[in-house]
Symmetry: C2
Subunit: 226 residues, 2 copies
DNA sequence: CAACTAAGTGTATTATACACACTAACAAAA
DNA sequence: TTTTGTTAGTGTGTATAATACACTTAGTTG
């Protein structure tokens, strides 16, 4: 219940969104970071983010910023947590609603990456010096991903439309941080109908061709996975 | 990354916290609501909430408001979700971080309840006309409680220090919305060492006295429960 | 055609989940 | 003091799910 509609005199709390965009690239779980060019946090890395406008919802702000700063649209996006510590930004009081996004290894934003040295994918296991409380946000995001991959189908956000079961298993292993048994993994994944065969195969190198699969659903869904 | 520290000219988004306080009372999962006395939402019910001050974190704001408006301190409290729809409050743009609190049937705030007709426990299954998006907040809170009771020890927030296993089971049944087998429930609860015997018993009515138990830990903890 | 590489497959064992019904301890009433 | 009523408390067998584990297959390359 809000009795005052006018803000506390003379100042107000800024509301921002910051998004942790994750992808599995080169055998590691990575997050997209931008290097700050000026101000008290110059040289440090931060998540893509920005202030919420008066005429957009939090979700819309997250989508807009994702599009403007990271050049990605139409990807898996969910709210993660809201960080509201008093000292989280030395420049002034702010509250940030963090979002959590997944992109597949296809759309690794190569154009953006090539031309800017101040935007890069960083291994979540070896983060650089980060601004604000963004290291904490990444950490909460990794925890969420790690737990959610076990009871939902969100892995679809990290894979292209078609993939082999070995590729899928590798994604699970990288996120969970430990190896999985090939036969048990395939049995489980197929039992719960997380994926379906496409009928196609893919030849990679000098070995037996692998069957290609796709997710049965590309909408968030909870299922017992691992 | 925030490039502007100054807010959009002439106006700003208000940041509030609203808390859904749950308790199991008279065989139902109930939430504490306050009736709004004036303004466009007059007569509707809302969660206890208020604006975040410049010098307090979100968590501190939630605790302060809980204490001021509901008269409770030192209870289970966790952040639930942040609601940031453009039209959530007809009086102006606001963002609200919702919290989720649990109180045990002991501390049902009887003093507050007796003297005010505009503050009451409502069955979550039969909510009155509610202001803002607070019905949605309650619904998200109930979902969170229902899912979290299955893999954590948060039930401790809903029970007094000492209780019988039947009382504990009843709380689980009310929250989950279905009955549980007595023997399997007790076996599981004791196997995972969620609770321990106190050595005391309690006589209630004309039947065999029940042993009293207490939680092994009164800090949030994840454990496989049901 | 031999050697290499990754794909693909089945079974036995163990642990966990679930279904299910009677006895025990106390109070109150006859 | 015995019977009746009421809730507390307990164990086992069965079904399902989780885990551990090694060889064969289909292709490419030399």
């Amino acid at each position: 219940m809000k009795k005052n509609v006018t803000p506390p005199l003379g100042q107000s709390i800024l509301i921002a969104v910051d998004t942790a965009i994750f992808s599995v690239i080169d055998g590691a779980l990575r997050v997209l970071l931008i290097r700050i060019g000026s101000g008290p946090y110059e040289g440090k890395w931060a998540l893509p983010g920005g202030l919420v406008r008066m005429d957009e919802s939090l979700d819309q702000a997250a989508e807009r910023i994702l599009s403007e700063k990271a050049g990605v649209d139409d990807i898996y996006l969910e709210q993660l947590f809201t960080f509201g510590g008093v000292d989280r930004d030395v420049r002034g009081r702010s509250v940030s609603t963090a979002y959590f996004a997944l992109v597949n290894s296809d759309r690794c934003l190569p154009s953006t990456i090539e031309y800017y040295s101040d935007i890069a994918w960083h291994d979540t296991a070896h983060l650089p010096k980060m601004a604000f409380d963004h290291a904490k946000i990444v950490s909460v995001g990794v925890d969420r991903l790690r737990s959610k991959i076990g009871y939902s189908n969100i892995a679809y956000g990290l894979l292209p439309k078609e993939f082999t079961l070995t590729e899928l298993q590798t994604v699970y292993e990288i996120i969970l941080g430990h190896e999985l048994d090939k036969r048990n993994f395939r049995k489980k994944i197929l039992d719960i109908e997380l994926v379906k065969e496409t009928g196609k195969v893919r030849q990679s190198g000098q070995s037996r061709p692998a069957r290609l699969y796709s997710f049965t659903a590309r909408k968030p869904k909870t299922v017992e996975v691992l």
